[in-house]
Amino acid sequence: DTAVSQTPKYLVTQMGNDKSIKCEQNLGHDTMYWYKQDSKKFLKIMFSYNNKELIINETVPNRFSPKSPDKAHLNLHINSLELGDSAVYFCASSQGSNYGYTFGSGTRLTVV
C-alpha cells in the first residue's frame, strides 16, 4: 500500500495547456508539500499545507495553484504551461521535523 502516491507519473503536454497533478497520503500526516526538481536535479520547495492551511508559498508564478481538499490530499494545478515548467514535481508529507519527509515517486512533466 503506497504511502504517498502521485498521479500521473508522466505527463507530456503542449505549451498553453492546463494540467493537474494529484497527490494522496495514507500516513495520517498533517503536512504536505510540493517540490520541484529541475533538470540539474536541484530540489526546491514550492508549497506546504498543514491540515488544509497554506503555510509555505515560495516565489512561484501565479499559474501554479495548490489545492488541499483535506489533509490527506494536495493537488497542484498549473495554468498556461510554459517550456520552463518542464521538471519533476514531488509531493511529500511529514509529521514533525524528526523524521524528514516521505516522498511520492514524482511526476515528470514535459512541456512541448
Partner: protein
Amino acid sequence: AQTVTQSQPEMSVQEAETVTLSCTYDTSENNYYLFWYKQPPSRQMILVIRQEAYKQQNATENRFSVNFQKAAKSFSLKISDSQLGDTAMYFCAFSTFSGAGSYQLTFGKGTKLSVIP
C-alpha cells in the same frame, strides 16, 4: 537563510570499498535536523539517515554512518562496503520550522555516486 553545500558533484567508488560524501551547511539555529536522501535512477527519494543536532552521537544505519561536526557545520555521509545498489544521487538536507507544523527541507545540489564493479 539556511544553505546546504555539497562540494562533490560526482564521485565513484569500487564495490566493497568505503566512500565519504561531504556536506556543509549554514544556519543560526541551535536545534535542527539533518538528513541524507538517496535518489536512484528510479527517481524515488529515499531517506538514508537522519541526525538530531542536539545529539552529539553520530547516527548509524547499517552500512551508512555520519560524521556530524556541529561547530564546523559539517555533516558527511560514510558508506561502507559499497554495493552496486548504492549507485544514486545523494542529497544532504536541513530541516527548519516554517510554522504550524510545517518543516521546510533545504537540499544541497547533490552528489552523483557511481559504484564500480
